[in-house]
Structure formats: structure tokens, C-alpha cells
Symmetry: C2
Subunit: 317 residues, 2 copies
């Protein structure tokens, strides 16, 4: 039995569907702080899926929910990256402390395998671009990335101390169906409301590297299948990047709108934003994985999903 | 006014004495979980020192205690490095969460400068030896080091997000007067009880680099005086190392004993122990600092302190 935390989220719910399609039995945990029940409609119709609506800060509960599992995909997180300085406790609680709880619940149930969604922003303001997994010792620039780095450290220490096996994935931004936060979401929502003007944080030249959700999950499965170290760390991303302006152009074309662009200026979208995340993915590629979709194809699929699912804007407002 | 957390500890109390000797006004905070009132006898006789017996997990209290400060030396920590796997929550609480509280208390009081005692063990099982500050992205091997890395990340994120200035010191083991835990302490205690036999964790060939307490504090003051980056990270250590066996020989000579040595075997003293911590200290040396004492001189001073202060063994038993 596989446990998926954050099972109602963008990545979590898509992972659950893939695991069920592969014949796995899955227990999903979500507190629905940002997860969407509708993303689980397919899963809930499958008798091999069980949903637990619970909070991962409840360690005693969590220990019970994990009973009988052999692997945990720990995807639950505060993904509200931009507003870390407005509520610094949230990253500590929802990321660092929750990850500790997940590890303790695993230990209580003798579950030894964990896959974890980290972030390319753990590299901070690196000048090694594309950034390999073995980049220089990073200096953190956001509370979000600092909390993800803390989680990585906890996982590695549990691998060493308690014989766990860990898979740590440092993502670029992920796009695709069920995507419900980030640049493309914000731009789409703004353009739906007012197609005449688009306010862009920063100068629009921030370079970003996106990965399509199914390519991301393919990479995770390849890593779990082929990598057998105690601690397995993989960058996940595409071999390229676009500027925020390129995403905007793609979205506008897809929507058939031509807004006036208003830039707030500066080279960062928000305090602590990494102006450029572009990851070296040779390591995961060496296992035979390659993404099937390019960045702008991912943007297009995302726009199409948002166009077909206007309810997500109400759910996330 | 300067705030020192962990003010009754080995390093904290020695720092307080130095700050008072320099004419500073100091508020010291300690919960006396491992700190010693006797280390503060001199400080308590000084009207520029105020002691707060309080717990740093009490964030509301801490915000009040920090009122009027301009700099925080955050030295309080779970220093019981060896037993992380026996109580994994302790490093999370006493190191990570407490450091978050210290940063929040600083923010509430508009205090912008923090000096923090990290550890050379954040480099994990590195093969870059001596290890520079900009070593490769580390993989953690102990809950203690993982928690210290989490603290470093929090501090750096507060520097970026809230305009703090941070000084992060990655120590080797520190020795000298008021030293109350670690190899030399354990060996001394064992030999005082039974000089005929000494049990040694590991194979005795673990290489260790120690720094004398006053040299450590000299380095901290030099860094605070001369380094002006947003985040200032310094390794602190000596240009050399000894084997655990060398320390033992030095202690035995000082004590005039010749025990039979019983090795537990293996290349590590305990699970997650770094078999070799030897730091590249070019960066702090480039600011004009150099240690005055060698490693074995530090061991000798430590043995002399322990011989003159048998009460510490009762206090720490």
C-alpha cells in the first residue's frame, strides 16, 4: 500500500491516478487547505483508493493512517511560495514540521521508502547554471526554499540513522492539467477578468524552466525504479527555459487577447524569488528519462485546462 | 544591548564574560537544561549583565526578553549530538524551532544582527577535505547537523526577506575551560573512575579538529568587525587535526595514567557521526585571525579545567 500526502493537490492527485492505473493500492491524505475534492473524483470511484481527510500536524493520527504502507510519496506542502515573509511560521509548520511528522509516522510503521517533492529554489542565488545536484553549498533566499532544504536534511538524516531510503526531487515549476497556482494561473485569471491590461511582477525577463506534470511523474517513477542509493537526489526539469514574457505571449495567443503589459520592475517577482531556476538534469536523463513535452506545450496544456475548468478560479479565490 | 542565548553554556558563558569585559551590556537567556549557574558567577556580579531563566520555545516570552537589543548571539542548542536517533524531536525543537523563535523575536523588536553557532558537520560525509564554506551541496548524516542546516537556511532567508545581517559560524569541536561534553569530557570522566581501562567508540582513528574556546571567540569578534555581507558564513577551526587516539594519549599523559584501550570498532563513534571534520579556514584567516593555541594545547587546558572543577561531572551526570 502506497501513501500519498497532499493527495488532492495538483501533483498529488495526478500521482494517485497514475498509481491506481498501475494497479497499486493507495491511501491519500489531504487537509484540503488547497487541495480539491474534484481532482479525486476518479480516484474515489476506485476501490483501491482510500481518502483520509486529515492534518499532517496530527502526528498520532498520521501514525495510524500510515499503517500497512510500504512507501510514502510526501507531496503535501505549503506551496504558497510568494508570501513567505507575510507568514513565516507557515513554511516551518507545513513543510519542516510536517515532514518530520511524516518521517516519524513512517518509523512507527516500519515504512522505509520516501519520495519527496523538493524544489530547485533550494540552490538559492546560484551562479552555477544549469545547476547540478552537486552545486555549491547553497545560501537560502526564501523561507519556502529554506523549509524544503530543512526537509531534505531531515530525510537524509533518517536514511542514515534509521535505514530509510530517500528520493528527493528538486522540481522546477510544474505545469499541466490541475495546475492551480503560479504565473500561468495568475496571468490567465487576470486576463479572463480584464483582457486589456496585464500586470507583471518584475521586468518580465525572469527566466523560468517549467516541466509538464506527466513528464515529472515519469521521472519520479524512473528514479524509484532505477536509483538505489540510500539518498537519491534528482533535479527534474527540461533542457531549456523561457522568459516570463514568453509564457505571457503563449497564454495571450491561446486566449486570443493582446493586453497592454504593465511591469512592476526589478529583476525579481517577489522578495526571495529566484530570478532564474534552470536545473542540470543529466542525472535523471542518465537513467533513460526525457521529457516528452516542451515548456510552451506545457503552458498550452495548462491554459486549455484552465479554460475547460473555470471552477478552479472560484475554488482558489 | 546584546542578547546571548544559551548564556550559561560552555561557549555562551565565556562569550558573556568577554562581552562584559569589553564594556557591553548583556542580557543572557538560558533554560539551564545543560547550562551551569556557576559559569555565570562572574557575570552575575556585573551590573551590566541580566540573566533571564527562560525557555526559547516560549515565543511570547522571548519577544519581551529581547526588547532593547541590537545584536543576538544565538548559541542555545541541543548539543547532545550523539543521541539524535534516540529522541529525534529534540533537534527539531531545540535547534530548528528555537532558531525560528529567535528570528521572530528579533523581527518583533527590529533587531537585525544575528550570530549563530552552526557546525562543521553540516557538510555531511564530504570528500572535500579540508572543507571550504563553498563545498558541494551537502547530504546530511545526522539529525543534529540537519537541524543546524535548517537553522542556517532560516537565518539566510530572514536576511534576504527581512533585511537581517547574519553571521553563521561552522565550528569544529570547541575545547577549553567550561567544556562539559564530548570526547575529552567522557574520557576524563571514565579515567577518573577507572584509570585501568578506557572504552573508545569506533576504532580510535577518527580524525577530529578542535579549536580552543578563546580562539573561537576571537574569530567571531573578527568576523563581526570585518565581514559586512548580508550572510557571512565562516568555518572556524585549526589548520590540522588529531586522531581520537592522540587526544587520549594527551589526556592520559596529563593525568599520569596508562589505561588498556578497548575499541568498539568501526570508523564512526556513533550512527551519523562524521568520521572526519577538518575545515578549510582560509576565509576567516583572510580577515587577520589565527588561532593562538594548537589542538593538543586545547586538550591540555581542558583536562586542567576538568581536574580543577570536579563539580562539573556531578552537574552533568
Amino acid at each position: 500500500m502506497i501513501i500519498v500526502t497532499g493527495c488532492a493537490g495538483f501533483i498529488g492527485s495526478t500521482l494517485v491516478d497514475r498509481l491506481l492505473a498501475d494497479g497499486e493500492t493507495v491511501v491519500g491524505i489531504d487537509n484540503f487547505s488547497t487541495g480539491q475534492q474534484r481532482f479525486l473524483e476518479g480516484a474515489l470511484a476506485n476501490e483501491r483508493f482510500r481518502l483520509i481527510e486529515g492534518d499532517l500536524l496530527d502526528l498520532d493520527g498520521l501514525k495510524g493512517w500510515c499503517a500497512g504502507g510500504h512507501t510514502v510519496f510526501h507531496l503535501a506542502a505549503n506551496a504558497d511560495v510568494r508570501f513567505g515573509t507575510e507568514h513565516p511560521r507557515r513554511d516551518l509548520e507545513q513543510n519542516t514540521i510536517v515532514t518530520y511528522n511524516v518521517l516519524e509516522a513512517m518509523r512507527a510503521n516500519n515504512i522505509k521508502c520516501i519520495a519527496f517533492s523538493s524544489t530547485g529554489s533550494v540552490y538559492g542565488d546560484t551562479d552555477q547554471i544549469p545547476t547540478p545536484e552537486a552545486a555549491r553549498f547553497p545560501i537560502q533566499t526564501s523561507l519556502y526554499a529554506a523549509s524544503k532544504l530543512a526537509c531534505e536534511g531531515l530525510i537524509a538524516a533518517y536514511c542514515e540513522g534509521f535505514g530509510f531510503q530517500g528520493y528527493i526531487f528538486r522540481f522546477v515549476s510544474i505545469l499541466g492539467e490541475r495546475y492551480t497556482h503560479g504565473h500561468v494561473f495568475d496571468f490567465y485569471r487576470s486576463l479572463s477578468t480584464d483582457p486589456s491590461t496585464l500586470r507583471v511582477l518584475g521586468d518580465g525577463h525572469q527566466r523560468k524552466s517549467y516541466l509538464y506534470i506527466q513528464d515529472c511523474l515519469d521521472a519520479i517513477f524512473v528514479a524509484l525504479d532505477k536509483a538505489k542509493d540510500k539518498v537519491n537526489i534528482f533535479n527534474l526539469g527540461v533542457d531549456g527555459y523561457v522568459e516570463v514574457n514568453d509564457s505571457i505571449a503563449c497564454i495571450c495567443q491561446r486566449l486570443g487577447v493582446s493586453p497592454r503589459l504593465e511591469y512592476t520592475g526589478g529583476d525579481r517577482g517577489w522578495i526571495g524569488d529566484s530570478p532564474f531556476i534552470f536545473l542540470d538534469t543529466k542525472k535523471i536523463r542518465s537513467l533513460g528519462w526525457a521529457p516528452k513535452l516542451g515548456i510552451l506545450e506545457g503552458v498550452e496544456r495548462t491554459v486549455d485546462f484552465l479554460a475547460a475548468n473555470p471552477w478552479v478560479f472560484e475554488a482558489r479565490s
